[in-house]
Amino acid sequence: MSRLPEPTIERSIHIDADAASVWEHLVVGELASLWMGGVMVIEPRTGGAVTLVPESDPDETLVGLVEEIVPGETLTWTWRASDRDPTQVTIAVSPARDGCLLTVTERIVEYQILEAPPLIQMPGEPWILRVCVAA
């Protein structure tokens, strides 16, 4: 029989470019917007905001926070659309022969909703997504 599905997405690709160039395309919003499928805003620091407004459906805007960043190596953020569970995305970049290897994982995480202080106002919702904690 076929294997049961894993509740985590993982994808890897080899890119024929140096890791520094690929990293720029992750942490510079204008460059990330070229491939993320919408307008991407990212503050590349722990606690920085992450927003993706998809071209296909702006109502499905994803909003979140950078959880961890190791410059040039790994970037982790947690985000959610207004009607979805939050997910955690980690992108790792490492040098490889003739370029670099990029690996992305995404999984659903637990989260807490606090009243204050406000950090991110979710569109159309009265509460505040303040802290995201991995399950």
């Binding site: 491939w35 993320m36 990029l102 992305v104």
Partner: protein, 104 residues
């Protein structure tokens, strides 16, 4: 915890996936039967079955003095849908990223 989170938490444990896979292969079985086939105590198995039950992945049916568990495939479609949707989005994004960088 939402239903989706319970579902993913249940499936996130490799032992529970093994139990679920075993039930899929053998059909309905009691905790006693499963504990004889799998390398874990009946007590541990009952806890895993309870988590799978809470996630809606198995159903309990009483047969005389024993309770038999069987797989409920419905919730798995939620997982498959999430995997397909989110995985597909990353496939498209990463293909674009490679094009953008390599064609620059």
């Amino acid at each position: 915890m939402t239903h989706e989170q319970r579902l993913f938490a249940a499936l996130g444990d490799p032992t529970r996936r093994t139990v679920l896979q075993r039930l899929t292969e053998t059909g309905a079985a009691s905790a006693t039967t499963l504990s004889a086939e799998l390398p874990m105590s009946r007590q541990a198995l009952v806890k895993h079955l309870a988590a799978l039950d809470a996630a809606g992945l198995v159903t309990r049916v009483r047969h005389g003095r024993e309770i038999r568990y069987s797989v409920t495939p419905g919730p798995l479609t939620d997982v498959v849908r999430w995997v397909v949707e989110v995985g597909g989005a990353w496939d498209e994004r990463l293909a674009r990223l490679r094009d953008v960088i390599e064609e620059a």
